[in-house]
């Protein structure tokens, strides 16, 4: 139940003053009488009585007074027209004053108040609308509130004949239309001023006479009305009233228009009255008497009477009847007694009533006044008889005649209230599809009443006038209080959209701002603080639906711009330039923009619009605000620099190549130098003083529109500098005048930097002028890694300090420039030795004493030191000692002493040559780090050189070897050298064999000469053990020992194999290998051996290879083929490795077996077992464990033809069998058996021989020993005999002196038999 009814529901009293009274008040500087009386409303402490005579105390009792003429005029005006005028009038008022309102409101922090739900604070615009609507006092056809309940006829005693004046006024009936309720109380007021012609007694007599003539409702009001008028007394503000229709005003000019302007107001907006204290009391007494003695009793009487009528209709028959009517929907007039006019109106349903009043008017003599029931309800409401009022209103509502609009005010809050509200609005709105001004005003009035009756309106019309907009805004205001902020935001937005159409900008802006704020506010989430951390989200991250905010911001920006607040407009446009992140990013950051938003931004508003608006407004701002205008608070919301891809680029970096590769070169150097000294190698990546380096800035445009950035540059700080000023002064940074980035484009922008003194520089920011308008800068810092060291760091997110791109600038004291002299494309033939010249220049300021070259382990090169080989006569063979180590090659020092004779002085340069051996076919790169230093300097510096080249295949070499048939040599080694078809004509200049054990000689002894493309040459070589061989046994022992360690799983010590002496035999002609060639051969052998070992022993760690395997197997034979292409001036050599001659004896078998039988440690990892067994297998199959039958039997003179005269005797042919032990180490026992008499075998068609003499030979062969057996073949007839079916049993072992007489321990046994037929033909040469 409401505490107070809206004032618009208060009883309405019309006043008809006489002309003399009007003049009197005017002369006393007083407003017209209705206003004076209105100042006394509401009355305090009024008691009314209900129909059941229960007293109802009213703390305040509102009254409304107005001029009768004005009301009459208002009734005559077309309702629709007046409604439209009302709306325009309210709009004008709002428009005039809203700027001030918004200002004041924001000053008192209105937005904050909204959220705090301070109900006492009201928005001024809503108050304005409310007052205007409440101030409506013209009677309406729909409802009876404004229908006057009383008419006060007022005269003054200043009139020459007050009685006559009264008579005239009383004779004038109120000129209301027929639909105005004619049931009024008539009251007479006589004002008796002090200066009246009548004395007090005469006035009393007049009063009595009037009372006698016009009844008791009469009052004599004596007033002093001093002149000059007393000081103004503040009184309650008059509700604003719609100015009178200008046309009708001209007809009755005598009545002053009752507009707010006519009321004298204080500057503070207060309403005042210039009345004396005495007069005020007198008037108050009159008003109280009028209400208490006349108006209220009269209204109570009416209520009682009408209630009688009402209750009678509620009795059973009529109720039955009326329900029947309701049931059958007939239009039978209700029998409800109405006063005055007929009751045909009751048949009109509410649905059509508001719109069809005029049609009803045409039916009867005129539109009927409001039905009695309604008046009853209204009176009961006014009098506070709520029980009756609710009852009657309900009945009216059930009859479909309204009531819904009042019931919400009277009922206690319940769901039904909302239904009433919506029904009331439906009635208003459905009257005509396009809402008329009447309907709007009506709805507004309802809304105002409901709002005052404490229920927020739940209503949105589609009218576009400011009042409804303000209503919406108020709805929003109330929604905020209800915490429905989303709805509030929408309503604010709607309100703003409407207001904007009527051009009321300050308020529009305010509403938009509110909407903006509300959309920005995310709902409170009662979640654990660690939730955000675990989800990886930012607490303050803006929730979804971000398609909405840009629209609001854009509208706000435009409004600000049009209203001249360009600064704020610029700020709004700036925030709109958000750009869109990639979908993946969106997912990670949880939806800054999802797909539909992206689509939306393209469809409705693009960055292009925003950018253009920004450009225009900012340009305007710049033009208008003069030179010294502060841009510091304008920050671009987007960033263009991709910090994570931005890089520093130094001059040396242009060499290219894999960074890991350079890293490994530097590691190689460090490892090498560790044993030599403590000096460290300064890593590359330093720029030099006065030498440019570059910052490759990666710029990405996130907007889908082209942008231009002017004066793009970077800001550099020195590491020691604390200040945040501009770039340090000793650094020159390139500035790019203009950069245009296309929509979503990414570009890499190199910016050159040159420092004038050594320092550590941090590249902190990129700065540019956005669109050549807004100077802006972006940090180039990357967030440091997350710290996890302490529990606190683990529990919360703590990051290391930001990481900036760092550039080290060093003094150019030690600087070297190294380049290849020839820079063209390099194509080499396989095996070619290419002389390359390097140009070295000291560009630093200090002399350089030492220069080293660090190349990759596979690169074969030699520094030519300018030595010329001594021209000694070539020996028969060459001997040189090899370190026999697989270790990587050490960095090579450039012999500055030899080449220059002095350190490399600053500015000096020299060239030196390098021979490169192209050992691998394909595209190759020679990457060398050149390490240098000044003598005794504690640091080394390095630079990088790289050369790419292509290697084409030239020769293919195949080798085959086996035991030689020739008794002079042990093994034969056949080489097949074939030229590649595409190659040029090649000359094979030399074929050299290298072996620690074998001396090889060509059996051809001739020059091979030229090889045409595709041609092949065959070169047979014979190998004999070299009697001066040394180091082989040690090497063997070393390898076996190391392999045993590997197999046993013990730690391998890193000792290197003993040196080995190599013998070189030149097969084609005698010559001397230059020392560089020995180096190349060593490198080649190392590369080949390392590749082979890496392929075979895959599971052994690489760094252990040099400690396990010697470079050369003691029995290995390497062949080097030297070639020349005279036509192209090329020469080179190809190394063929992999040949191992001589029988092995499986020396590792014992160890392997031991390893296999070793108690297997159970290991949970199958991989470990597999790895172990694969290591074992690899060693078992390796060349160090080869095992063959060392003894070979050959038949000398096989295929011989023997002539014999069989006529004389049978033939005895001695056959020579050669038996040779190919083992270099072990003796062998042999047993050779010949079959006594062999029957002809079916296999061969040759005859089986029979032997005479000794058939079994036994003996022992020492290592490499060979002997001849000479059995005798007995041939009885001429035939071809095959020497088949012999049997050779071999026992390989050791002679162990201690084991007894024989002292023999057998290791392996072999049985051999004939493999070839070895025929001997006997021809009969008998004489016959």
């Amino acid at each position: 139940m409401p505490s107070m009814l809206p004032p618009s529901l208060a009883p309405h009293t019309c006043i008809l003053p006489s002309q003399d009274l009007v003049d009197l008040l005017a002369s006393s500087s007083l407003p017209p009488l209705p206003q004076i009386l209105q100042s006394f409303s509401p009355l305090p402490q009024v008691t009314t009585r209900t129909t059941t005579l229960t007293p109802v105390p009213h703390p305040t009792f509102a009254l409304r007074f107005s001029d009768l003429v004005e009301i009459e005029e208002g009734c005559r005006e077309d309702e629709e027209q007046r409604a439209a005028r009302t709306l325009d009038w309210i709009s004008a008022r709002i428009s005039r004053r809203c700027a001030k309102w918004v200002e004041d409101w924001e000053r008192v922090g209105g937005a904050a108040v909204e959220t705090e739900r301070n109900a006492n604070l009201r928005t001024p615009w809503w108050d304005e609308v409310r007052h205007c609507i409440e101030g409506d006092h013209i009677p309406s056809r729909i409802e009876g509130w404004n229908h006057p309940v009383a008419v006060i006829v007022a005269v003054s005693t200043m009139s020459p004949n007050p009685l006559q004046a009264l008579a005239q006024l009383h004779a004038r009936p109120p000129e209301f239309p027929s639909w105005v309720d004619g049931n009024q109380l008539r009251y007479t007021l006589i004002i008796h001023p002090k200066n009246s012609a009548l004395s007090d007694e005469e006035a009393g007599a007049l009063f009595n006479a009037v009372k006698k003539q016009y009844g008791l409702h009469t009052f004599l009001l004596p007033l002093e009305l001093p002149s000059p008028p007393p000081p103004p007394v503040p009184v309650p503000l008059q509700p604003p009233r719609l100015p009178r229709n200008p046309q009708s005003t001209t007809q009755t000019p005598e009545i002053a228009p009752l507009s707010p302007g006519a009321i004298p107001t204080l500057p503070g907006g207060l309403n005042t009255l210039r009345m004396g204290e005495q007069d005020i009391q007198q008037t108050a007494r009159f008003v109280r008497e009028f209400v208490a003695m006349s108006l209220v009793p009269w209204m109570e009487k009416c209520a009682v009477e009408w209630n009688e009528n009402f209750s009678s209709t509620r009795r059973l028959p009529s109720r039955l009847f009326s329900s029947t009517r309701r049931l059958f929907g007939s239009a039978t007039p209700s029998p409800t007694p109405t006063h005055g006019q007929n009751s045909s109106i009751s048949s009109v349903t509410s649905r059509t009533r508001s719109g069809s009043n005029s049609s009803i008017a045409s039916v009867g003599s005129g539109p009927p006044p409001p039905p009695q029931q309604r008046r009853l309800a209204e009176f009961a409401t006014t009098l506070g008889d709520l029980k009756l009022a609710i009852n009657v209103w309900e009945t009216i509502r059930k009859d479909g005649k309204g009531g819904s609009e009042i019931l919400p005010l009277l009922l206690s809050p319940s769901p039904a209230v909302q239904l009433h509200v919506s029904h009331a609005l439906q009635v208003v709105m459905t009257s005509n599809t396009h809402s008329s001004a009447v309907a709007q005003v009506r709805a507004l009035a309802y809304a105002v009443r409901w709002e005052m009756g404490c229920h927020p309106p739940d209503f949105i019309g589609n009218a576009e006038e400011p009042p409804s907009a303000v209503l919406l805004a108020h709805a929003a205001y109330l929604s905020v209080r209800k915490k429905a902020r989303r709805r509030a935001a929408l309503w604010y937005l709607f309100a703003a959209n409407r207001l904007e159409k009527s051009g009321i900008k300050p308020l529009t802006m305010y509403f938009l701002r509110r909407a903006h704020d509300l959309y920005k506010v995310s709902p409170e989430k009662s979640l654990s603080p660690s939730f955000w951390d675990s989800e990886g989200m930012d607490v303050g991250s803006q929730a979804g639906f971000d398609a909405i905010v840009p629209g609001i911001e854009h509208a706000l920006g435009r409004l600000h711009y049009t209203t001249g607040d360009v600064r704020r407009a610029v700020r709004f446009f700036l925030t709109l330039l958000q750009g869109a992140s990639s979908p993946e990013q969106a997912v990670l950051s949880l939806g800054t923009s999802n797909g539909s938003n992206l689509e939306l931004s393209k469809a409705t508003m693009s960055d292009k619009v925003f950018l253009e608006d920004f450009r225009v407004s900012f340009q305007h701002l710049k033009d208008t605000s003069g030179p010294n205008f502060d841009l510091s608070d304008l920050k671009l919301p987007v960033t263009f620099c991709d910090v994570r891809h931005t890089r520093l680029r130094l001059p040396g970096d242009s060499v290219g190549g894999d960074p890991d590769l350079w890293e490994s070169r530097e590691d190689t150097w460090r490892t090498y130098w560790k044993s030599q000294g403590k000096e460290s190698l300064q890593s590359t990546g330093k720029a030099a003083v006065n030498e440019p380096f570059w910052v490759d800035l990666v710029m990405h445009n996130p907007l889908d529109v082209d942008i231009s950035l002017a004066n793009l540059t970077i800001i550099i700080k020195e590491s020691t500098a604390e200040s945040s000023g501009p770039s340090v002064d000793f650094v020159e940074v390139e500035v790019i005048d203009e950069l245009v980035l296309g929509a979503k484009e990414t570009q890499t922008i190199p910016l050159s930097v040159r420092a004038k003194r050594p320092s550590t520089l941090f590249i902190t920011q990129a700065s540019y002028s956005f669109l050549n308008l807004l100077p802006s800068s972006e940090s180039l810092a990357v967030r440091g890694r997350r710290l996890q060291d302490t529990p606190i760091q683990r529990q919360s997110k703590v990051y290391a300090p930001d990481v900036y791109i760092k550039a080290l600038v060093e003094d150019a004291s030690q600087r070297l420039s190294v380049d290849f002299v020839d820079d063209g494309r390099l194509v080499l033939e396989h095996g070619e030795c290419m002389h390359m010249r390097l140009w070295v220049s000291n560009i630093g300021t200090e002399a350089i004493n030492d220069i080293w070259i660090v190349a990759g382990p596979d690169d074969e090169y030699c520094i030519d030191d300018g030595d010329v080989a001594d021209s000694v006569p070539p020996p028969a063979f060459e001997v040189f000692t090899s370190s026999n180590s697989l270790a990587q090659r050490l960095p090579q020092r450039v012999p500055l002493d030899k080449l220059l004779g002095s350190p490399l002085a600053p500015g000096q340069s020299f060239e030196f040559a390098l021979t490169l051996h192209a050992n691998t076919v394909g595209d190759q790169e020679l990457s060398m780090a050149v390490v240098f230093r000044q003598k005794e300097r504690p640091t080394f510096h390095s630079i990088r050189v790289m050369r790419s080249f292509e290697v084409r295949p030239l020769l293919s070499v195949a080798s085959a070897y086996g035991p030689s048939n020739d008794l002079d040599e042990l093994f034969s080694l056949d080489l097949d050298i074939r030229s590649v078809p595409a190659a040029a004509t090649i000359e094979i200049s030399q074929v050299t064999t290298m072996s620690p054990t074998w001396a090889c000689a060509s059996r051809a002894k001739r020059r091979i000469g030229t090889l045409l493309p595709g041609q092949a040459v065959h070169l047979p070589l014979g190998a004999q053990p070299w009697d001066q061989r040394s180091g082989g046994d040690e090497t063997y022992k070393f390898a076996l020992g190391k392999l045993e360690e590997v197999l046993q799983g013990s730690d391998t010590d890193l000792s290197h194999p003993p040196p080995l002496v190599l013998r070189c035999d030149h097969a084609v002609s005698t010559s001397v290998l230059p020392s560089t060639m020995q180096s190349f051969l060593h490198q080649g052998r190392r590369n080949n051996a390392a590749r082979h070992i890496a392929a075979v022993h895959r599971n052994l760690p690489h760094h252990l290879y040099p400690a396990i395997f010697p470079l050369y197997h003691p029995h290995a034979v390497d062949v080097v083929i030297f070639w020349e292409i005279p036509s192209e001036g090329r020469s080179g050599h190809i190394l063929v490795t992999g040949t191992t001659l001589g029988a092995g004896h499986g020396d590792l078998n014992g160890i392997i077996q031991e390893a296999e039988e070793m108690k297997v440690k159970r290991n949970m990892y199958a991989e470990t077992q597999i790895e172990r067994s694969s290591i074992l297998e690899a060693i078992r199959a390796s060349e160090w464990n080869s095992e063959t039958n060392p003894v070979v039997l050959t038949v000398q003179g096989s295929g011989a033809v023997v002539e014999h005269d069989f006529s004389s005797s049978s033939c005895h042919i001695p056959v020579t069998l050669s038996l040779r032990n190919y083992s270099l180490t072990r003796p062998a026992k042999y047993t050779f058996k010949l079959p006594p008499q062999t029957p002809a075998s079916g296999v061969s068609d040759m005859a089986a021989p029979s032997w005479i003499g000794r058939l079994t030979y036994r003996g022992t062969l020492k290592p490499l020993e060979h002997l001849l057996l000479r059995p005798t073949l007995h041939a009885t007839q001429p035939d071809t005999y095959t020497l088949g079916d012999w049997r050779l049993e071999i026992e390989v072992g050791d002679e162990v002196p201690s084991t007894g007489v024989h002292g023999w321990r057998t290791q392996y046994r072999y049985v051999d038999g004939p493999s070839t037929a070895a025929p001997i033909t006997v021809v009969d040469v008998s004489s016959e």
């Binding site: 589609n462 989800e535 979804g544 639906f545």
Partner: protein
């Protein structure tokens, strides 16, 4: 499914109140932004309804509010994805059963689209929540969801049948 329901738009809103997909279905397509507003505003009403409803209330929330020629209905899946459908306000009676059928169809469309395993293709495996992938279902690069929604709309008579 009943024809001519006057389906104007559908909005899928994630449990964290991010829009997954907002699609205008009436042809010609209206201002999409309006439906963003509507969906956003309905969250208030949905919140109120959910707060008021008992725990085991139905998914279908019924009529939420009417505004600017559309009636807005709401539906909450068991996993709190909110589906908001706007019907054009006509004189024809909209039956709850029809609306529920439409909602169920949309729910199924959403469910099928989110089940797409390739949604997670470019999402790091250690992304803490599934939420992001839900949002991805509505993004422009995955057309399946839109297609399914359009199919439902077509069946409900909002969109013209393509091959007809």
């Amino acid at each position: 499914m009943p024809a001519q329901l006057g389906l104007a738009a559908v909005a899928f809103v994630s449990p964290q109140n991010y829009p997954i997909l907002i699609r205008a279905l009436s042809s010609p397509s209206d201002d999409l932004l309006k439906y963003h507003y509507l969906a956003h505003t309905s969250l208030d009403v949905i919140d109120e309804r959910i707060a008021a409803a008992p725990k085991n209330a139905e998914s279908y929330l019924g009529f939420l509010y009417a505004m600017e020629e559309v009636a807005v209905y709401g539906y909450v899946t068991p996993l709190k994805v909110k589906i908001v459908v706007a019907f054009a306000l006509t004189d024809a009676v909209i039956r709850d059963a029809d609306v529920i059928a439409v909602f169920k169809a949309f729910h199924l469309a959403y469910y099928r689209s989110v089940a797409n395993p390739f949604l997670k293709l470019h999402v790091p495996l250690d992304t803490p929540s599934e939420h992001g992938t839900l949002l991805l279902a509505g993004s422009a690069q995955w057309r399946g969801f839109r297609r399914r929604v359009d199919e439902v709309a077509r069946a409900a008579g909002a969109l013209p049948v393509v091959n007809a």
